[in-house]
């Protein structure tokens, strides 16, 4: 199973964290610090796996962002690479050639998409189309709520957009 998902920029800034196993806040920041140190320092041609505290961390770099997923020793590393790529493709389709800034200002959208992809650290959907459809259905519900005149969510959705 995937224990956590981590998006870190090349400068070491955290862009997204998702924890499927319990880690205290202290442990979380320690994990992030440790791993970004290891992963950001690895050369470009090396393999995408790092052994870390009895787990494996599979990472892949897309432009300035490192996508990392921590899995158990016996899990399929190659598949996790595919899952990462799957996620990136869905993000790309959603934002239209996604870049780091999209994920900074719309971080909550990145989370919503991830939640349609993984639950309990396991993959839930292999079809990009299905994920896109479910996300847009929910976005529409938010829009519809906004449409309701004088509705509060109208303004809040704008504020968070």
């Amino acid at each position: 199973m995937i224990h956590f998902v981590l998006l870190v920029s090349r400068q070491g800034k955290v862009r997204l964290t998702k924890w499927y196993s319990p880690y205290t806040q202290k442990e979380r920041s320690k994990v992030i610090r440790e791993l970004s140190g290891v992963i950001l320092n690895r050369g470009p041609k090396l393999c995408n796996f790092v052994e870390w505290r009895g787990y494996k961390v599979v990472y892949k770099r897309y432009a300035s962002l490192y996508f990392c997923m921590c899995i158990d020793q016996e899990d399929n590393e190659l598949e996790v690479l595919e899952i990462i790529h799957h996620y990136v493709e869905i993000l790309d389709r959603y934002f239209g050639s996604v870049c780091e800034l999209d994920l900074i200002f719309n971080f909550h959208k990145a989370y919503y998409i991830l939640d349609e992809l993984l639950i309990a650290g396991e993959l839930q959907e292999s079809s990009k189309k299905t994920v896109a459809r479910i996300i847009s259905a929910q976005d529409q519900m938010v829009e519809a709520a906004k449409e309701e005149a004088g509705s509060i969510s109208n303004i809040i959705a704008q504020a968070t957009k």
Binding site: Y20, E79, E82
Partner: protein, 869 residues
């Protein structure tokens, strides 16, 4: 239109945080935002909640505390609108984890939302539950989730399935409730539902044996059919990844088949065909295909024996191993480790490639390969593999040397066919990576060297040559100086030449150069310097012709800033200077170290005795190891013996009192321990002198003192922890003479107390006369007179005495160490009784001397002191 709200918008906050140049500036912005959010929370305006939480999540990601926003999540979740719930659940998953109490408050909202009429609200609740539920929540909400597995919309079914995996992980007892629902999911056509259904079945199989049996019986064939359908399916753009239809589903199906086939020949038999098909037909030029192949290989290796399939699997791994992609090679190495279990030969064929991987620039691959190589080693290939690894050690990265050298050492130790090979390989490792080698490794090497008596000459010469080239490798230097100290004579005289050796010419002075270099080198650590000092002492006896030079080197260490070194230098100088007669026996070669006991000890099965020996070293306040000093003086003495009176012995006195502090203050109790030490020292070794040599060596080097002494220690394992507080008073007094200006002569008031006969045997009589110095009633001067009652001369006469803790004893040197027939010698003792008036004197003594060349030992306790002393 936002003007009616206070505070900034989310987007503006992110902008201003991003605009910060320094961390302090960022903290300032965040602090201000947090203050605003708190204020807004206190106003309890539902309009701002949505935005506040979004901001808090961003702040949380930056690593700031956001616990004050947790209740806001709950309020948002409880509100009726979908947008509020959506962000509320997101906040819940991000800001809380399953251990927080607050989470319990959300159970009711979750329950309501799981029964909500809007399927997307149900989806949000399932997602949150699946990601952070605790065992308690799992129990409470399991019935809802179970029902939702049958929901009409596939989006909910798949979420419910994964939510169930979390629930059964948290509460394995609930597994049986989900078995039927899970098996119904396997018949689905929707990929998402199928994937999550297979995952749930896999989870149930690993948790419950009944579930495993159930799925094996009911579902194996259906799963095989599903796998076949999807493998043979036509191009489906929705699920296609690099030419493979839904590799994710492939992988999950293969994984479930693996647990179904494992341990069951029938099930394994059923899946043989489809596995063979997947293994042969899957495209391996893209990562997705390789991921499927990898999973397939793993399944083939886990199910019951189908040897033709295994050949296929091994071939795939062989292909992987020669792949240019590092990821593929990495997983190949990983799998080959498992493959070794059933086909060692097949893996051995790839040995050369695997060895290449040890030299890979990628640390992850190197690590895997090294693990694999160590599994590949056997008696037949150990020499070749070791050679390869050692060759690589010379050129490997510094940070890899530690792992690599540790592995080589363990291989060499485990499979070494002969001692000379072992020693050779270890010397190479020490030469290349000596600074990375752990203590127990070079300790083990010394034990082996000590046991290989026919190789002593060869070893010391090899070490000499190596240390000239690699003098910066600390552990090599240590082993070398130890060997030069022990076997220096063999080095100089080319004793025990082996056929393979070239004769070398080493002068005594060359050998001393090496040791001098080690002791004067500024970056040598304390252990090395201490070992060098001991080696010098030994060489002073081995090389009498240059003992003056050695003495000079030792004398220089008198100025060492390390107290231990300073003190030792003074003592050793004293030995070299004044005690030529005992020096040679004092520094004799060490007895052979006991390999078996060392190994037992190394594996950590004797922790008790470790602590026994370690104790004196740690109990000294100034941080200098006391064990070496104490043991140095331990010339077969019996009890807690006081050193001769001198101003310089205060430190020694300290040592004694510190250690005594840890004992029960009863001399009787201490006796038990020290007697045992004595026994230990005299077991199985030819002469007491040699014993002491060994104990000097064993314990003289601080850091290593736990190890070679194993042999002795083992025997003492039940001993109380206060042994090793012994010191000698006899012949070794003079060691400390260098410190004392002159024996103190104190005015005596004449005997106020009657003299006593302290001891009398057939050959020896000891009389004590007492006097009190004026002004200090606690002090008593005792003059001991030793009278020889036999017709023969006693030589090497040593008197030692010990007193309980409340007494302090100072011994002056005896008038002579030779006691002629019917003659006598005298010795002055000064006893200070801290319990004067409450307790009377008591003393234990031991007399050692040589009679006609034979050692004689006499012991006694003196209880008949006059009262009031």
């Amino acid at each position: 239109m936002n003007s009616i709200f206070s505070g900034t918008r989310l987007r503006d906050m992110i902008r201003s945080i991003r605009a910060c140049k320094t961390a302090a500036e960022e903290r300032g912005v965040v602090r201000k935002e947090c203050a605003d959010i708190r204020a807004s929370i206190n106003e309890n305006d539902p309009h701002d909640r949505h935005r506040n939480l979004a901001k808090l999540m961003f702040i949380h990601m930056l690593g700031y505390p956001t616990h004050f926003g947790q209740m806001e999540c709950l309020k948002l979740i409880a509100s009726p609108g979908f947008p509020e719930k959506r962000i509320g659940y997101l906040g819940l998953m991000l800001l809380l984890d399953e251990r927080q109490e607050v989470l319990m408050l959300v159970t009711n909202s979750l329950k309501q939302d799981l029964n909500h009429t809007n399927q997307y609200v149900v989806g949000l609740a399932l997602c949150a539950l699946g990601n952070i539920c605790s065992a308690e929540m799992a129990r409470d909400l399991a019935p809802e989730v179970e029902r939702l597995i049958q929901f009409r919309d596939p989006n909910i079914r798949k979420k419910a399935a994964l939510c169930s995996t979390r629930i059964v992980r948290k509460v394995p007892d609930l597994a049986e409730n989900f078995v039927n629902a899970a098996s119904s999911l396997l018949k689905e056509k929707h990929h998402g539902v199928l994937i999550t259904g297979v995952q749930l079945c896999y989870e149930l199989c690993t948790i419950s044996d009944e579930a495993l049996e159930f799925f094996r019986k009911k579902c194996t064939e259906g799963l095989i059919k599903t796998l076949r359908d999807i493998t043979n399916s036509a191009y489906q753009p929705e699920y296609d990844v690099a030419g493979i239809t839904d590799p994710f589903l492939h992988i999950r199906l293969l994984k479930l088949l693996r647990v179904l086939g494992h341990g069951d020949a029938d099930a394994s038999d059923l899946m043989t065909d489809i596995l063979a098909q997947v293994a042969t037909k899957t495209e391996s030029n893209k990562n997705a295909g390789n991921a499927v192949l990898y999973e397939c290989v793993e399944t083939i290796m886990a199910i019951e024996d189908t040897s033709s399939l295994r050949v296929l699997a091994i071939n795939i791994l062989g292909r992987f191993l020669s792949n240019r992609d590092n990821n593929i090679r990495y997983v190949a190495l990983n799998m080959l480790m498992k493959a070794i279990a059933f086909d060692d030969q097949a893996v051995q064929r790839h040995r050369v490639t695997i060895l290449e991987c040890v030299k890979d620039p990628d640390a992850s691959i190197r690590k895997r390969a090294l693990e694999l190589v160590s599994l590949l080693v056997n008696e037949n290939n150990v020499k070749q593999l070791t050679k390869e690894l050692i060759d690589y050690l010379e050129i490997s990265d510094e940070d890899f040397k530690e792992d690599l050298s540790a592995k080589i050492c363990s291989i060499v130790e485990k499979f070494s066919p002969e001692k000379i090979w072992y020693i050779d390989q270890m010397l190479k490792v020490l030469s290349e990576a000596g600074k990375f080698v752990k203590d127990d490794v070079w300790h083990a090497l010394i034990v082996v060297i000590s046991n290989a008596s026919e190789l002593h000459g060869y070893t010391v010469r090899s070490l000499y040559k190596a240390v000239l080239t690699y003098s910066e490798q600390e552990t090599l230097v240590r082993v070398a100086i130890w060997c030069i100290g022990e076997y220096g004579d063999l080095l100089v005289n080319n004793v025990g030449m082996l056929g393979i050796e070239d004769p070398i010419t080493v002068t005594e002075s060359d050998a001393v150069d090496v040791v001098e270099d080690a002791i004067t080198r500024h970056n040598s650590d304390m252990t090395t310097k201490a070992m060098a000092l001991v080696a010098l002492l030994k060489l002073s006896s081995r090389f009498p012709s240059i003992s003056e030079r050695i003495k000079d080197i030792i004398v220089k260490q008198k100025g060492s800033l390390l107290l231990e070194m300073q003190q030792r230098a003074i003592e050793f100088n004293s030995i070299v200077d004044r005690h030529k007669n005992i020096r040679s026996s004092l520094v004799e070669r060490m007895p052979v170290l006991d390999e078996a006991t060392f190994n037992v000890r190394r594996s950590g099965s004797l922790p008790a005795s470790v602590s026994t020996m370690a104790k004196p070293s740690v109990s000294i306040p100034n941080g200098v190891s006391a064990a070496p000093l104490v043991d140095l003086l331990d010339l077969g003495s019996d009890d807690i013996l006081a050193a001769p009176s001198s101003s310089g012995t205060d430190y020694l006195q300290d040592l004694l009192s510190v250690d005594l502090g840890s004992s029960t203050a009863q001399s009787g109790a201490t006796l038990g321990g020290t007697d045992q030490l004595l026994d230990i020292l005299s077991i199985g070794t030819p002469s007491p002198a040699q014993n002491n040599t060994s104990s000097i060596d064993l314990l003289s080097t601080g850091g290593i003192n736990n190890n070679p002494s194993t042999g002795l220690d083992t025997l003492s394992s039940p001993a109380p922890p206060h042994i090793a507080t012994t010191t000698s008073a006899g012949g070794m007094f003079d060691l400390l003479d260098g410190l004392s200006p002159s024996p103190s002569k104190e005015a005596t008031n004449g005997p106020a107390y009657p003299p006593i006969v302290a001891y009398e045997s057939s050959t020896l009589k000891i009389e004590f006369t007492f006097s009190k110095p004026s002004g200090n009633p606690q002090e008593t001067n005792v003059q001991a007179t030793f009278i020889n009652l036999s017709p023969n001369t006693f030589t090497d006469f040593i008197f030692q005495a010990a007193v309980p803790k409340f007494l302090q004893l100072h011994l002056d040197p005896a008038s002579s160490n030779t006691l002629p027939a019917s003659g006598n010698i005298t010795q002055n003792l000064k006893v200070t009784n801290s319990q004067h008036g409450k307790k009377s004197l008591v003393m234990r003594m031991r007399i050692g001397y040589k009679l006609n060349g034979k050692d004689v030992l006499e012991e006694a306790q003196i209880n008949n002191f006059p009262r009031g002393l």
